[in-house]
């Protein structure tokens, strides 16, 4: 990982969440429901692809080898056994 080493995972999560909610959510949900958006939170640029790995690869190719904020557009995830998910230090 390279470029955004100065940002912590918590900062990436908060910046990504804010950028997605305020600037992307409404427009992307009309057109790309269910697809993955991979966001470079520093540059406020993103890539969209139905395949999560492909979206990450496209983002890495264009924005550099850094950590991204990833979200599936408009989807409620069903990790059926994740009912045990709790708030830990690494749940941002």
């Amino acid at each position: 990982m390279a470029d955004n080493k100065s940002l912590s995972l918590e900062e990436i999560t908060k910046l990504g969440e804010r950028f997605y909610t305020e600037e992307l959510k409404n427009s992307l949900e009309k057109q790309y429901m269910g697809q993955y958006v991979v966001i470079d939170v520093q540059e406020k640029k993103y890539k969209i692809n139905p395949d999560r790995l492909a979206a990450i690869q496209e983002a890495t190719k264009e924005f550099g080898d850094k950590l991204f904020y990833i979200i599936q557009i408009g989807s409620t995830k069903n990790p059926s056994l994740n009912y045990t998910e709790k708030k830990y230090a690494w749940n941002f």
Binding site: M1, L9, I12, T13, G16, E17, Y20, V38, R52, L53, I56, Q57, T60, L67, F68, Y69, I70, I71, Q72, S75, T76, K77, N78, P79, S80, L81, N82, Y83, T84, E85, K86, Y88, W90, N91, F92
Partner: protein
Amino acid sequence: MEAQKIQALIILKKNMLGTFNNDQPVIEIEVKGITGISKKINALVDSGFNGYIQIPFVEAFPLGLVLAGVEASTLADGSNSSHLVCKGQVCVEGKCVDTTIDIHHANIVLLGTKLLKELKKTFVLDASIGKVEIIDSK
């Protein structure tokens, strides 16, 4: 992802037979990381998990998986959660498929439906006789 940048391998045998312990379908998978050390771990085939594969921190760290980012998700109960996402590869009989791996604190390995779809696999479960199998889709 370029071939030389692939940091992990998850090897899934062809036509795997699993177990049905405590009414849960479990398949043994082999995970191989950047260090070259492989480890066999039991994965719960979760037909309700519409993701790829989920492994716990304790399995991910020794494998040296490479972090790609943080994914946010809304869980079925409406709560929000975030988890780490790493890049990896799934191999079946020497044929490899690139994929992403979810890292969670929960000490459980889940095999999700998106990964089965990518691998073009059929999940067979006969609960009455406890038969669990993952075979090539026709």
